[in-house]
Amino acid sequence: MMEQIIEVNNLVKSFGDKPALKNVDFCVRKGETIGFLGPSGSGKTTTIKILTAQLAATAGDVRVFGEPAHLLKDPARMKKIGILTDNSGLYDRLTVQDNLALYADLYGVRKERIREVLAMVNLLGEERTPVKKLSKGMKQRVTLARAILHKPALLFLDEPTSALDPTTTKQIHEGLRELNREGTTIFLTTHDMDEAEALCDRVAFLHDGEIKLFDTPQNLRTMSGSPTISLLLKDKTTVTVEPDESGAAAIAGYMASGNLLTIHSNEPTLGDLFVQLTGRNL
């Protein structure tokens, strides 16, 4: 059986009498990339804060690396995790290099690693730039570089690519895949379905503090019904057929008559399924 890095049973978190998480159960296996998807206020950040011992659970059992999450504060344990949250701060007056050098020293990482992570987040050449002169997206990349500086065994990412342009997002996704291939387990929250599909082995739909579904992106897509097939004909009309025998016959007919221009499948997206399930958009 694969080693479980995170185990959560009956997790409840309330702020006063307002419930934020209601009996949440899930586990994350070693080497997986797990995505928690949900709109703002669904409980994603609360989950990360509890898993990283920033917040105490109201009830339930939360284990990280087989031990209660609140024990994570021990320096040896902290070296195994990396965290990027939406409010991870940087020292504005210090340079990018100085910000990362501090954490290299705290984690006992050689300074050469700073160049490696800056290359990954596309910030090579900005080492001497004071952080206050960077754009919001660049600051986000420095924060990400800081989170992966020590090649953590478990990486928590809270909306890692929000505020980033598509090119940088793609670059960061590639870097995260590389980290994952090297053995880092990744737990990320996002409201970007494309990001979840691109990175995650399994995805949880979080809504109103509850996990509505938790499965592979492929299995989740099939839950919202079979994909249909759209045919664009030469007279610019579109015909939709089912992926069955009658559909195959129709496609063959259009092809034989030379009337078929394009053909593509209409697979349901995770976004479609989320709306179908919760009645609201991400």
């Binding site: 920033q54 320096p75 965290i83 701060g89 504005d92 210090l94 501090l102 020293d105 006992g108």
Partner: protein, 233 residues
Amino acid sequence: MTSFSIKRVNAIFVKDWKDLQRNSYVLFTLALPLFFAAWLGRIGEDSAEMIAFPIVFALVIAGAFVQAAMVAEEKEKNTLRGLLLSPASVTEVFVGKSLLSGIMTVAVVTGCIWLAEFKVPSLPLFALSIVIALVLFLAIGTLLGLLSRTVMETSIIGMPVMLIFGMSSMFKSMITNETILTVLDYLPNELLMKIWSGLESGSFVGESFLILTVWALVSVAATVVVYRKRRMD
């Protein structure tokens, strides 16, 4: 098991030192007691209380205010969270931060002594009184920083502290109530003045040292309690 790493403390100290050199607010705050001491030195003030005042003022401003501003800024900019989520322990974080404030306070106190032409009585015991006061004011500064949400707020919350702990001697002549005057006698600044004048005249200062130490221990304990209550969201 909790460990203590000098390397991590040094990393925080180096970061704070680099940051301090670019922090005009803190640099200006550190310079204030020096200006005041230089002014007293120039006007040739020779009352023992007035000459000792810049040293107490330096301890309050450089020790408590600078420490409070540094801790509050870490909170305001969410960088304290990052440090506490790193392998650095709470002790390492606060020792690292206090180290710089402590060194800067000693430098400012030394500068004030020189500028105000204060004659140091019995260097070892004077130094001991400064060390105890340093622990006290750094703890108060950390406490103020933890209680404030922003650097600006430290000025508001810290003002009564500065008035009571740093300047109460100046208001004594305006107070006639015996009870209040007795209470003022037990404040750290009064105790420091008593210790220094006692050292100069050769009178007994053990009781004042003891009360000052109690102040320092209570401040450290209060800071630890407040941190534990506020460490989580």
